[in-house]
Amino acid sequence: MAYDYEKSIRPGKLPHIWCPGCGHGIVMKGLIRAMDSCGLEKNNTALVSGIGCASRLPGYVDMCTLHTAHGRAAAFATGVKMAKPEMTVICLGGDGDGTAIGGNHFIHACRRNIDMTYVIMNNFIYGMTGGQFSPCTPTGMKASTTPYGNPDPTFDISKLAIGAGATFVARTTAFHATQIDKLIAEGIKHKGMAVIEVLDDCPTTYGRRNKFRSVVDMMKKLKENAVPVQAASKMTAEQLQGKFLTGVLYKEDKPEYIEQYAKVIAKAQGQAS
């Protein structure tokens, strides 16, 4: 059966603002399927984003939606979750928003292991401002501000999240549509900070400058270079050159922040903890 996305989308909001072939729409579909599969209630779910193309996503979805300032999604979301722990809180945004201007909030949300899910759409570029390089633009690639090729080293968002203390970290791509909802759903169900990195395509500002013939060409690259974690264990370093791992990269049970603060409240109120 055709999937009923309409019931989760605000009436009259489509078509969305994203360019032809932009993978954000594919991620949005995956997010909706994931939220459905987890049985999330609209009134009890907050979608929090920063600024950028990806951060426009919450505006379309019929939930409690908070489109904040550039980079600040995780910090706003922390306030929402702390003040109303019964809500499911999902952060959405891009690579520049989440790991450059918002890098500090991102790593500290991971460190606290607060019970949120952060879906980060990594399209390797600042799309909305016209294609400047981000911390995730691969070295050597072209962006509007790296006309001679990007001299900067690159963040590995998933490794960053693991290093900072997130207890569920997964990666997939806009090509692997059905994996998107499975991983987001797993992240939502996980108690603690879950980061799902979705490698995404920006044909307009990244593909065009970097000799991708079409959006399909970009999608094929995402498909070809994705190596499921299980398969990677049987591959040599040479075989893994230029590839990236997909699937659940890290999972751990660790004390969660809201629960830890509940103990603070109990102590302050003189109850045994």
């Binding site: 019929d62 908070l66 706003f76 306030g79 929402v80 003040a83 603060y261 302050a268």
Partner: protein
Amino acid sequence: MAKKVALLQGNEACAHGALYAGAKFFGGYPITPSTEVAEVLSIELPKVGGKFIQMEDEIAAMASIIGASLTGAKVITATSGPGVSLKQELIGYACIAEVPCVIINVMRGGPSTGMPTGPGQSDVMQARWGTHGDHAAIALVPASCQEIFTETVRAFNLAEKYRMPVQVLYDEIVGHMRERIVFPEPGELEVIDRAKPTVPPEQYKPYDTSFGDVPPLAAFGSEYRFHVTGLNKAQDGFPTTKAEYVDAEERRQISKVENEKARADIESNEEYLTEDAEVLIFAYGSTSRSARYAVNELRKEGIKAGLFRPITLWPFPEKRVALLGKQVKAIIVPEMNLGQMNLEVERVVKGTCPVISIGRVDGEPLNPGQIIAQVKEVK
């Protein structure tokens, strides 16, 4: 029953005022000379089921209180000048998205790191114009520990009533001074909660002006769902670039504070011996305490000096100051900056009397002697 009395620091009084007002969430970042506000609330908030979080930076602190406020909680952060500088973008966010929140600024000198342990009053213009774009501002400037308590309560009331950020600015002197505080009984001071929507959820619009200049704000996690953005938006809360919506919303967000009725509600001043004053001292915060002493000394010498002390600094008490400007021979504006409010006084008296600035930025308080000397010079 005797009221509870305590010897409290200004910063401690602020924290207790916040609790009296019903604060349930504090998000902050350590900064001198404001940290006692955070320290007291880290102890007291969990006792009342509230939440205290020390965020990773000043910006995050501001973000966290806006997020928490959207769930319906009364929220507060406390910082000092450098922290307020960092918070500016999100103060603007709270203005345009109309999210109630209280920001305490315990002022030190500046610019930049300045003199962290010294007093200053150099953030008063920042409180008005710190964030980019046109916007209204409410800023309160208490001058004693008791007043810090009551003005913190009033800051929450105004934030909730006008659905916007409210700043309380007091200098390090008042923040770290200890004075006797009489705790008001519950119900003794007015405590205002934000208006909640009365329409069915499907009809709710977060910026619906059919309910007046301050539309009711629903809470995330209630039966109402809505969208919040820092973009210019229409009454339904969704982004728009339509000129007529943008213009109307921007004007409403300013007029909700600056219309006459709102001003009368928000403005609060103290006048001391102004009826027959020939020289007026316009002073706020700890400087007003030196000014009051100066007025008393000058009166002993037969000089008709008076004090005008704004407790609400923004919106500025334009009408009253303009009237006083017509009455007196000169207005003297002592402040621990180099003439910020002096500019504002000049603006509203429109040349009807000379306006003379006494500025001090060396980390020392402005003393009565400086003020007395200046009054005698104009007399």
